[in-house]
């Protein structure tokens, strides 16, 4: 197994079937994983801030620091390896509230919102996610089968499915329902 380690404000992609992409210690940061099951192309981004508009210079020199420029970079990178955006399985992890118990800065939530906003703009719906809370997370994306394993601070592990219903309830806490 070929392991690619993605650091903070970094993203990497691979079309090697035996590769896995790993990023560690997601606190308020968000990991965006993308996987094309048909072409076996995998990509993982680890960004730390929501909007690149706060620092134009950094947006150019370190685009993966931000949700908007980082996600744009990630999608371009996997496209260059032959991935088709319409086939991509996109999953998110992170966005926790760590070292900020009162939620004063809310960076984790703002990062999540920024990722969702950018993905919607790119025409992408989320397959599944593990976000929020107060735990740090480590994630691993396996290119061979698209497995996206999330390990939380307390040691629990789970694989985010390739396709799952939204966790969100409808407005006012009314569960969306369908099917009789």
């Amino acid at each position: 197994m070929r392991t690619l380690v993605i650091g903070i404000s970094d993203c990497q992609v691979s079309n090697q079937p035996d590769s896995e992409l790993v990023t560690y210690a997601l606190g308020s940061c968000i990991a965006v994983s993308v996987w094309d099951p048909s072409r076996r192309v995998a990509g993982l981004l680890h960004f730390m801030l929501p909007e690149s508009s706060i620092d134009a210079q950094k947006a150019t020199s370190a685009p993966c620091m931000f949700a908007d420029t980082g996600i744009d970079r990630l999608f371009k990178a996997v496209a260059e390896m032959g991935a088709d955006r319409r086939r991509l399985v996109v999953r998110l992890a992170g966005g926790a509230q760590v070292l900020d118990p009162q939620g004063v800065f809310n960076i984790g939530k703002r990062n999540y919102q920024a990722a969702r906003k950018m993905l919607w703009k790119l025409g992408i719906l989320i397959a599944s996610e593990a976000v929020g809370g107060e735990v740090s997370r480590t994630v691993r994306l396996v290119n061979e089968d698209g497995r996206f394993r999330v390990r939380e601070g307390n040691g629990t592990e789970k694989d985010l499915p390739l396709h799952a219903p939204s966790r969100k309830e409808a407005g006012n806490g009314v569960p969306s329902f369908a099917g009789r």
């Binding site: 919102q113 920024a114 906003k117 703009k121």
Partner: protein, 146 residues
């Protein structure tokens, strides 16, 4: 009987829910917005009846209105036509009102009128006010119960 505190709380929860869920934006309650900012806002009026009867007025700062429309439609701010901005803020007001009323009167009947752009300079003295701040600008809501 709904208290003013219950009303403002429901509106705050509804505004937060709507902006987060459909626009990926955060709205923080703020005590007030200066009159010169309010006078520049585009306002939407939504009448309602059922268990409660009255009127909502929701004002959006122009830059925020455009940013909301762009986020909703998945476009860049510069790509959105003014007609689309107006349509989106009308629907935003519709959702905030409906969500707020559904919270307050979950066991009652509710009917919303079609939202319409309103005169921002109309007197709103009798309206119960609640304001919110987002990174792109402010939203001011007012509700009057008959």
């Amino acid at each position: 009987m709904v208290t003013p505190a219950e009303l403002t709380s429901s509106i705050a929860a509804a505004a937060s829910s709507v902006l987060e869920t459909m626009f990926f934006a955060e709205a923080e309650p703020c005590p007030s917005v200066p009159e010169e900012q309010r006078s520049q806002m585009t306002a939407v009026r939504v009448g309602f009846d059922g268990g409660l009867r009255g009127e909502f007025r929701i004002g959006f700062e122009p830059h925020l209105a455009r940013a909301l429309a762009a986020a909703f439609l998945g476009m860049d701010d510069s790509e959105v036509a003014q007609e689309e901005v107006n349509q989106v803020i009308c629907e935003t007001a519709n959702m905030i009102c409906g969500a707020a009323l559904s919270r307050i009167e979950s066991d009652q009947h509710m009917r919303l009128e079609m939202p319409a752009l309103a005169d921002t300079t109309a007197e709103c003295g009798e309206f119960l006010q609640a304001c919110f701040m987002t990174p792109e600008g402010a939203i001011c809501t007012g509700v009057r119960i008959e």
